[in-house]
Symmetry: C2
Subunit: 455 residues, 2 copies
């Protein structure tokens, strides 16, 4: 008899465990003991759908909100949200990097060798210690981040509350969750280099992906023995390029907008542009008001959100590697080349096909759900085409940025967003695992590049 | 020494000849002798950009307008527009089906055999007679269409003018051009089964593609000798399915809209829904006001416009075959199949890759041009995100449907739309030709399905 976990396929296990965790989280957050209290002593009302939405947003590390977590939940409720974020984030990283090692059923030989190399690089003996190291790494980074943030939050809120704020925002940032304990998210820190900087750094580390960080650390410790993998070089380059493009776009397109960058000095303009560029992919914090941005900025944001973070990270979207493979492949096709080359190596045809399929399926999913949002729209004058499109892509890519339309939507539309967050989160993960079966044809035919993660 | 035409590659020749024709057409339509006259005898002003836009729209058989062709141009100007439509339409069909035969440089063996089979099926000896037959076929269909339309237009406008209207609209419909001689396009005929029906039939014939029609005719004449090609079965099925889906979508989503289907009886509702479904892909006539439609309808329309008509036809978009190959491939990938099968045959990997590349490049082109439209927007209150997106996709897919925003745009935005119409028209054509090079690898490796046209 197989043990219980082995009876499910990895994709089924991912889908089921996330759904179960969301249900439990939703029930927990539904308890009145979690809810905030008004000045007159009455408990603020939170219905089950709102609790479920919040739990989904936390577990899928999205950050979209129908409620105001700083007021509609009390400290206990907020701690539960923080724990859901942590469970979701660790689950995503663990599933994304170590799941295939545990089941050992569907993993391709080349991928097993690759992960084993990385694991041995840090002297990690077995799967359990790998997972333990993921946890350890996460908590150390979050701890350091919280310590740094305490320098900003303790003077502001006092020791106890300040440390609590520091821990909450460090966890939320490293897991790319986008939840903040202020009603206006982080807009009060638009010119604060400490908070903006530390949060941005945590987001970037969290969005880089564990395997890539493992590879970078191993490479730095022993450059000769552990080469920087093609995958690492690729995602780090794309990440840097997209951060630069995003910063320039926000700077140029919002420069004179009186409701965003307009009133700020040059240094603050630069800081805010960089922060927004970081958070777009796909952390979901904001120090500027996305409801006040110009249409060109919003369109660039839509594209950056759709592309998202690195595979194997807590970030969402179709992933940087997927995007880059698509761009390079399409360009090779335009130039009439028969093969797609990158850093002197040929990209395997299956990788290209997988990247294109992931992108097109993602577009299809967004299109379908966006159509439902349009169909269920109640005609609220502040909720137009662009608002629904923005919230839909933000939900799919688990970004959490909002044009402030989500709270105005119909409960049925909230159900659609819950589905979109869930599918946007488990879809690419499931895909990555489902696709990691051995490809006998390729093993026989030619020595192609296969170690680029897609989805 | 090579003859002049042979010195250019087919893609260069297509791009150059279209650009040249547009320039000549623009100069012609700029002449004051072409322009309409007001009641007080003054000539209506038409600047060069407006003339160029009209020429591009006519030659790329799009139908977007910055002017009102029924008033800003006189009979001479309208005849020039009709001739530009005819030249554009014939050019597209000829380039799309016979170009590779003329140059005989880059065509794959399998494709040459396929076309030769079809050509022999209709007893066409050489390339010149093939082209002659394309022309003959076009004029016969247009003639029959004009004759039928005369039954509606002659009683309305008298013999001379009625015949003129019948010819103009038959040419415009068969070439999927979308130009009409009424200020409200064909909205006056929303309940007219004769005009709506004949125009719809001409659109469908024109949007089917010459090779497919050739194949169908050959098959009907001798079913045993000439099988119905996989490509024909595929595009005819997809076309029928999309027509049905579109009709149902318009019917269901606009049923009670007081500004579109609401006031009509059931029969008229059905006729108008069918007509709009036909015209969306990608003819560009309208009997309903797209500026008055609901957001879900507009979104469905965006998708149908993007998919477009059959390859090798005068319709635009990424094409039905491209869309179908993508859907089937993505679905096979989701199910974890190693190969994509259709009608009991395996789809060649190159075809899949080509379909996905065409789709993603098209999305990229639309995204880039749409960003420019947003950037150049002057903040006109009637021109919002959805309006610009609608006009952009309409221009790319050479549809010509409009949310009535195009005349309100800035001249710089008109330049962007001109570029988009031009690139949307020659892009897929150029791609199709550029991709039709022999693939030695595939000829050696396996006998795969290759006769599905993409783009
Ligand atoms: K997020
Ligand atoms: K058209």
């Amino acid at each position: 008899r197989l043990p219980l976990l082995a009876r499910f396929s990895p994709p089924q296990l991912i889908a089921l465990s996330f759904a179960l965790a969301i249900l439990v989280g939703g029930l927990l957050l539904w308890l009145p003991v979690m809810h905030g209290v008004n000045a007159d002593g009455t408990v603020r009302p939170v219905n089950f759908l709102q609790a479920l939405f919040t739990a989904t947003s936390a577990l899928c590390v999205t950050g979209l909100n129908v409620l105001d977590p700083s007021r509609d939940f009390n400290r206990l409720g907020q701690v539960v949200i923080m724990l859901l974020i942590q469970v979701g984030g660790l689950g995503i990283i663990t599933f994304g990097t170590a799941f295939a090692l545990i089941t050992r059923r569907r993993m391709a030989f080349t991928e097993r060798v690759q992960v084993a190399q990385q694991v041995s690089a840090l002297n990690i003996g077995d799967v359990r210690s790998l997972i333990r190291n993921i946890f350890l790494y996460t908590f150390v980074i979050e701890g350091v981040g919280a310590l740094l943030l305490a320098f900003a939050f303790v003077p502001r809120h006092g020791l106890g509350l300040g440390l609590y704020y520091a821990v909450f925002h460090a966890v939320s940032a490293f897991n790319n969750a986008g939840f903040a304990l202020y009603s206006d998210n982080l807009m009060g820190f638009v010119g604060d280099p400490l908070v903006s900087g530390v949060i941005a750094l945590l987001i970037i580390l969290g969005g880089t992906g564990f395997l890539v960080q493992l590879n970078v650390v191993a490479h730095l410790l022993n450059p000769r023995r552990h080469r920087l993998m093609l995958h690492s070089r690729l995602v780090l380059s794309v990440m840097a390029a997209l951060l630069a493009v995003g910063t320039l776009a926000y700077l140029a397109l919002e420069w004179s907008n009186p409701r965003t960058l307009g009133p700020l000095g040059f240094g603050e303009k630069l800081l805010a542009s960089f922060f927004q560029s970081v958070t777009t992919r796909t952390a979901g914090f904001n120090t500027l008001d996305y409801g006040a941005m110009t249409l060109p900025t919003l369109f660039v944001t839509l594209i950056l959100m759709f592309i998202g973070a690195n595979p194997g990270s807590t970030g969402g979207g179709i992933k940087t590697s997927t995007f880059y493979v698509i761009v390079v492949s399409a360009w090779s096709m335009v130039l009439g080349r028969r093969s797609v080359n990158l850093y002197g190596r040929r990209i395997d045809m299956d990788t290209i096909l997988r990247a294109m399929t992931v992108s097109l399926l993602s577009l299809g999913l967004i299109a379908g759900m966006f159509f439902l949002l349009l169909l269920l729209n109640t005609g609220h004058p502040e909720v137009q085409f662009i608002h629904l499109l923005f919230e839909a892509i933000s939900a799919f890519a688990t970004v959490g940025l909002s044009m402030n339309a989500t709270p105005l939507l119909h409960p049925d539309q909230h159900v659609v967003l819950i589905l979109l967050m869930y599918l946007g989160r488990i879809g690419p993960l499931t895909f990555a695992v489902a696709f990691s079966r051995p490809d006998h044809r390729d093993l026989v035919r030619y020595p192609a590049e296969r170690d680029i993660l897609i989805g």
